[in-house]
Amino acid sequence: MTDHPAQDLNDLHAPKPGELIFAILFLGFAAVMLSQLGDQTKFSSSGKLFAQPRFWSAVGVIGMVVFGALHLVTVLRPRVAGELAEAISWLRSLEYLVAFMVYVWAVPQLGYLPSTILFTVLLALRLGYRDRRSLLAAVATGVVIVLVFKTALSVKIPGGAIYEYLPAGLRSFMILRF
């Protein structure tokens, strides 16, 4: 940060690495969606233009194309170094997306408490937290989240399929609370 807010505000709006690639991808997506406007929306012969099912989809998608194109023009110059490297760095988020989706898949199978503890501990290990204190903190985080949301606030998360193998009394308790 600099000594003056106005200077930082200008820096904030200077093109950033990756913005050009983002602008190209966004415009491409908008153009594809615009090409589908006729197929994916209806225009009935009766009724006013504003009441057509197509009208607001058209407003949105035409706006995306027009503003997207103008945005692309503004980021063409000046060129910013590191465009491709930044775009590649976006792919690093996919690892955590996959981890998240595996967690989503695991909850109905293993149950909320076991899946959450496994998720926090494995993710902590992946992030480089290998000492005992950090791993205990990861377990505690998982347990506290389950206790607050499922046990105390009773949010709707189904019991795990694995709970079916528990004795009857414990099974219903685990399904309801963990």
Binding site: M1, D3, H4, P5, A6, L9, L12, H13, K16, G18, E19, F22, A23, F26, A30, M33, Q36, Q40, T41, K48, F50, A51, P53, F55, W56, S57, G60, V61, G63, M64, F67, G68, L70, H71, E86, S89, W90, S93, L94, Y96, L97, F100, M101, Y103, V104, V107, F119, T120, L123, L127, G128, S134, A138, I145, F149, L153, V155, K156, I157, P158
Partner: protein, 493 residues
């Protein structure tokens, strides 16, 4: 007086007060942790409040909404890292004061200025209530359509230097909102024959993806960082006395916060910069601004804390959110069967008064909590950022999955998480998408309703408020294009 009593009765329940206390304290803690923020917390907790009584869920989330900026000042002042984005300006004067050994004084001033801004804003809200109660019922479909259109225009124009990107993202939000079954003729829009798209894209799923999951990805991918802050010794009351010496700055900045908060799409950043610039221009010591000026700190904190209550004005009176947090609060209201808009002021004024009282109580609770537990909060803000990312991702699951137990929702939210992550990396705004979704839905419904009675385009603006709103839209657009033209001419010379 009857309304005041009714409002107190609504709040006088142990579970409501507990929710307000938990929300307020939780909001301060969340605001104090750099990288979390109220938007993430509200997005995660919103589905968890579905099972609660409406007033309990609402007060808990209102507590987080109204108190997070208080907490955000702590890391801004002590470690030069704003807890929430709107505390960024606080670092300019707060951190230099800390470097001079005046951390306690700076924090105390930040708390007192925040409290002043918050209470000033609530008083304005109360004073304006009769006016709102009179004006709100005069807003019919076309007036609400024009107000929503003005909101979208202001949101886009508020992103100076990024107007085209903001426009594209706002239109993306409008388009997203149209996906699924259209409610009048029951035709499908952009579903590509996929049954999971027939119900549309849920706003809460998008919000969780764009705010919570993207933030988790951002923290997980970046290098680990555990901020360090030294403990403070001594009391934090002195700022209240010092604030009194700078009462003009506090009042002007709070007034800017109220004014900017009331205008949809403008919000804290504009309020802060205007109040900061005014405070600097009128100060006897302008050279100290940016180098540890108490007036600069007061201007920043009073302005940003005056915004949340003021932003409730268009939300409560017209059902029009002005920024991302109020858009989320609108979802909160809808989920709990409270429909903001003209009818709220006509039929549920006691509920509105209860919200005002709740806002007032939360400001008092927060200041008392901060005065007693700042050193405890200093320990919490030292959580390593990647560990924080892991926690946010785990919490985001609860938010999305508990909506409908749908793994498709989780996949959509994760997809928006990656999209939000990219937007944050390239420093493009997320808020226009959310407001595009919310205001796009309002505009579609209201335009359809209003066009039934409109024969010629002029009929659309033949009522006084509609005409005034139309004139404001024309003036806003004309002044923008005039500025662009002047900048172009200047560039040619």
């Amino acid at each position: 007086m009857d309304l005041l009593f009714s409002g107190i009765v609504i709040l006088a329940r142990w579970d409501v007060l507990a929710a307000l206390l938990i929300g307020s304290v939780g909001g301060v803690i969340i605001g104090a942790i750099p990288g979390v923020g109220a938007a993430v917390a509200i997005a995660i907790l919103l589905p968890a409040t579905f099972s609660l009584d409406p007033i309990v869920g609402l007060t808990a989330l209102l507590g987080i909404y109204g108190s997070s900026m208080y907490g955000g000042a702590i890391p801004a002042v002590l470690i030069n890292t704003p807890g929430t984005a709107v505390n960024a300006l606080t670092t300019y004067d707060g951190y230099p004061m800390t470097k001079r050994g005046e951390g306690r004084r700076a924090l105390s001033l930040a708390y007192s200025a925040s409290f002043f801004g918050g209470v000033f804003s609530i008083i304005c809200l109360i004073v304006l209530s009769p006016v709102l109660a009179w004006i709100a019922p005069q807003f019919g479909s076309r007036e609400i359509f024009l107000a929503a259109l003005l909101g979208i225009i202001l949101v886009v124009l508020a992103h100076r230097g990024q107007i085209f990107a903001a426009g594209a993202l706002a239109c993306f939000g409008i388009w997203l909102n149209t996906i699924g079954m259209e409610p009048i003729q029951y035709t499908r829009r952009y579903t590509f024959d996929q049954s999971w798209l027939a119900g549309g894209v849920d706003l809460i799923v998008v919000v969780l993806g764009l705010f919570a999951i993207s933030q988790a990805f951002l923290l997980l991918v970046d290098k680990d960082n555990a901020p360090k802050a030294a403990a403070l010794s001594g009391g934090l009351f002195q700022g209240f006395a010092e604030l009194f010496r700078h009462k003009r700055v506090a009042a002007t900045s709070s007034a800017y916060g109220v004014l900017m908060g009331m205008i949809p799409g403008v919000g804290e950043f504009t309020a802060q910069f205007m109040s900061y610039t005014t405070a600097q221009r009128t100060s006897k010591n302008p050279g100290l601004f940016g180098k540890g000026s108490p007036e600069g700190l007061i201007a920043s904190e009073a302005a940003n804390n005056a915004v949340p209550s003021a932003a409730m004005i268009p939300l409560l009176a017209l059902g029009i959110p002005g920024e991302a947090l109020t858009a989320m609060m609108l979802s909160v209201f809808y989920v709990h069967n409270v429909i903001p808009g003209p009818n709220l002021f006509q039929n549920q004024m006691d509920f509105v008064v209860a919200l005002y009282i709740a806002l007032l109580i939360l400001n008092v609770l927060v200041v008392v909590f901060l005065l007693m537990s700042t050193n405890l909060l200093l320990k919490i803000i030292q959580i390593p950022t990647r560990f924080l990312g892991m926690t946010i991702l785990t919490l985001a699951f609860v938010g999305v999955y508990s909506l409908r137990n749908s793994s498709v929702d989780c996949a959509i939210a994760a997809g928006f998480g990656v999209f939000g992550f990219i937007l944050k990396r390239v420093n493009l705004p997320i808020v226009p998408i959310i407001l595009g979704m919310v205001l796009g839905g309002i505009m579609e419904a209201k335009l359809r309703t209003s066009m039934g009675r409109v024969k010629t385009p002029l009929d659309f603006i033949d009522r006084p408020i509609a005409f005034i709103l139309f004139c404001i839209i024309v003036i806003v657009l004309a002044s923008h294009f005039w500025r662009v033209w002047q900048a172009y001419q200047k560039g040619r010379k």
